[in-house]
């Protein structure tokens, strides 16, 4: 078995502030004692409904949100209390793709700028021309043409924009990508293209994914290991067969029973 590249240990996050002068207690425990490992080259799915805390775990894994308790260890080093240079080095290794690339790509930056900005920050490439050449290769890698370099995010369709967001994440040559609902805003025919792309990139580059989603069909197709979250906690975890065929927890069973069946002969919601 390969080494865990990401280890999340007893992670907790409390939002809001405790009771104080003229202040009601507004604390909310969004994440409670979450532990999980992601092995190299593996896809671990974090599934749950809105408010389950799955995206909060993703943000903490990225080092974009400080945990209230517990720690995140990436490649042997703790993510939580890093200094500037180390933090920068970490950012290069962990990247993220969000649901809505319209929101995550800067609308005033061309694709060239979006793809080369990270390279400049991380001193990848020897010159502007070299970085542009790398960006062109990345675009071809995600199924776009180098002509896209001069275009702005709004000029693309949703699927193409998500490809640009994936190319941007890849531009700093990460080992690990947090995918937060990467296909939830896409049509199914486009979703299949993006999923194929993610699988190919994983194969070719040995990437590890933390795949955050509410879409259980996608999980069943993509994931090696599944953690089911509810109300800030992981309530059940296991491989695809364990979770989908022999779920143990009532919450997981309820979740699975709510998925509409794709077979009209096997309706779940009462005939």
């Amino acid at each position: 078995m390969s080494q865990p590249i990401l280890q999340i240990e007893h992670l907790g996050k409390v939002f809001g502030r405790a009771r104080g002068f003229l202040r009601k207690d507004s604390q909310k425990e969004a994440v409670k004692d979450v532990s999980l490992d992601v092995n190299e080259g593996q896809t671990v799915a974090l599934v749950g409904e809105s408010g389950s805390g799955k995206s909060t775990v993703g943000l903490m894994a990225l080092g974009l949100l400080a945990p209230s308790s517990g720690r995140v260890i990436f490649d042997g080093t703790s993510v939580v209390d890093l200094g500037g240079a180390e933090r920068l080095a970490l950012r290069r290794k962990i990247q993220v793709v969000f649901q809505d690339p319209y929101g995550s790509l800067n609308g005033r930056m061309t694709v060239r700028e979006a793809l080369t900005e990270g390279m400049m920050i991380h001193r990848i490439g020897t010159s502007d021309a070299d970085r542009e050449a790398r960006a062109a290769v990345l675009l071809e890698d995600v199924g776009l043409t180098p002509e896209a370099l001069n275009r702005y995010p709004h000029e693309f369709s949703g699927g193409q924009r998500q490809r640009v967001a994936i190319a941007r994440a890849l531009s700093v040559e990460p080992k690990f990508i947090v995918l937060d609902e990467p296909t939830s805003a896409l049509d199914v025919s486009v979703q299949s293209q993006v999923l194929n792309l993610l699988r190919r990139l994983q194969r070719d580059r040995g990437l590890s994914y933390l795949f955050i989603t509410h879409n259980l069909a996608v999980v069943e197709y993509m994931a090696d290991y599944v953690c089911v979250m509810s109300k800030g906690e992981i309530v059940e975890r296991g491989g695809i067969e364990a979770i989908f065929d022999t779920p143990q927890q009532d919450y997981t069973k309820g979740l699975l029973n709510s998925i509409p069946s794709i077979d009209p002969e096997a309706r779940r919601l009462g005939a």
């Binding site: 409904e49 809105s50 369709s157 949703g158 049509d187 199914v188 025919s189 979703q191 299949s192 293209q193 999923l195 194929n196 699988r199 509410h214 259980l216 069909a217 996608v218 069943e220 197709y221 993509m222 695809i240 989908f244 309820g254 979740l255 029973n257 709510s258 998925i259 509409p260 069946s261 794709i262 077979d263 009209p264 002969e265 309706r267 779940r268 919601l269 009462g270």
Partner: protein
């Protein structure tokens, strides 16, 4: 198929939108029937024209850009397109009601839930007394736990699922004959979706109304629909009873759509993809609009109007090569 006469018949509907890129035809010669007590799904991806079809029926097209060019929308035989704006208002919310994807934008944030549910009764001739009484009944009917409390609450105090229940209550206020539901559960979590779909089905059985369900989700279609119209680029490309559609899809687009769904049996393999893009609604190509993305395309596909052909006696599909292939490839 139901023996009853259809409650809603849409005939050769064509709708256009004036856009900055010219005149777009998102609904281009759409026809279907909706029978009492039945659910018809219109399924399609973004840009297929499914929502504009729904808005055309309600005559709630975006103003000032949207216009119905031609066709008929017959509600119990009466053409809604012959009505004046005021006459149409009498139908909207009365025998023809609609719910939308995002209940937060359909509800008025500054009025209480009770007020908004009662208003739909008052708007169609009831008194406020009657309205309030009916509002309580309706909120109970749609499964609100404490309806008296909800009457006094404002939309922001409710969860997404609760807000959608309120929308359903408003839609049901006047016992409509036809309920148009445009992506009613798309913004909801899957467990809440299951509750709302079950509620819709229950109420539909109880009241015997017809539902036109607009969705992009084939799972929702398989769960809910009796009949299905698959829309692509402004046209219905396939029309079939739900079992036939999933068991033996006929149009290449329907086949490709079903094949592209992720599932466990495809693990480790690439999913089927649909290459290319939907053509622009401002300049539909001649012939089949799926031709540029279709693996079965032959030269004749891009010439002239493609007619609907009936296959196996139940499925209508808009394809000249119909019956020559099936899910999984060309027939031997």
């Amino acid at each position: 198929m139901s023996d009853l006469a259809p409650v809603l018949e849409v005939r050769n509907l064509r709708t256009y939108l004036e856009t900055i890129r010219g005149r777009a035809w998102p609904v281009d010669d759409v026809s279907f029937d909706l029978h009492p007590g039945k659910i018809r799904a219109i399924v399609g991806e973004s840009g297929s024209g499914k929502s504009i079809t729904a808005l055309s029926i309600m005559q709630l097209l975006p103003e000032p850009a949207g216009f119905i060019d031609s066709g008929q929308i017959l509600l119990e035989g009466k053409d809604l397109l012959d009505l004046t704006w005021n006459e149409m208002r009498q139908h909207r919310g009365h025998d023809l009601a609609m719910i939308f994807q995002e209940p937060m934008t359909s509800l008025n944030p500054v009025f209480t839930i009770g007020n908004q549910v009662a208003e739909s009764v008052v708007a169609h001739g009831g008194t406020w007394e009657q309205g309030k009484k009916r509002a309580l009944e309706l909120l109970e009917r749609v499964g609100m736990e404490r309806p008296e409390l909800v009457l006094r609450q404002y939309p922001h105090e409710l969860s997404g699922g609760m807000r959608q229940r309120v929308m359903i209550a408003i839609a049901l206020a006047n016992r409509p004959k036809v309920l148009i539901a445009d992506e009613p559960t798309t913004a909801l979590d899957v467990t809440v979706q299951a509750q709302i779909l079950s509620l819709m089905r229950e109420i539909q059985k109880e009241m015997g109304m017809a539902i036109l369900l607009i969705t992009h989700d084939l799972g929702v279609v398989a769960e809910m629909a009796d009949d299905v119209s698959v829309m692509y680029a402004g046209k219905i490309v396939e029309d079939a009873p739900v079992r036939d559609l999933f068991r033996s899809p006929q149009h290449p687009y329907t086949i490709d759509l079903l094949e592209s769904l992720p599932a466990r049996q495809h693990r480790g393999q690439d999913l089927a993809v649909i290459e290319g893009n939907v053509p622009a609604a401002t300049a539909w190509p001649a012939g089949c609009r799926y031709a540029n993305r279709c693996q079965y395309c032959i030269p004749a596909c891009t010439e002239g109007e493609i007619p609907m052909v009936t296959v196996n006696g139940v499925t209508d599909a808009r394809c000249i090569r119909i019956g020559q292939f099936q899910r999984g490839g060309v027939k031997a």
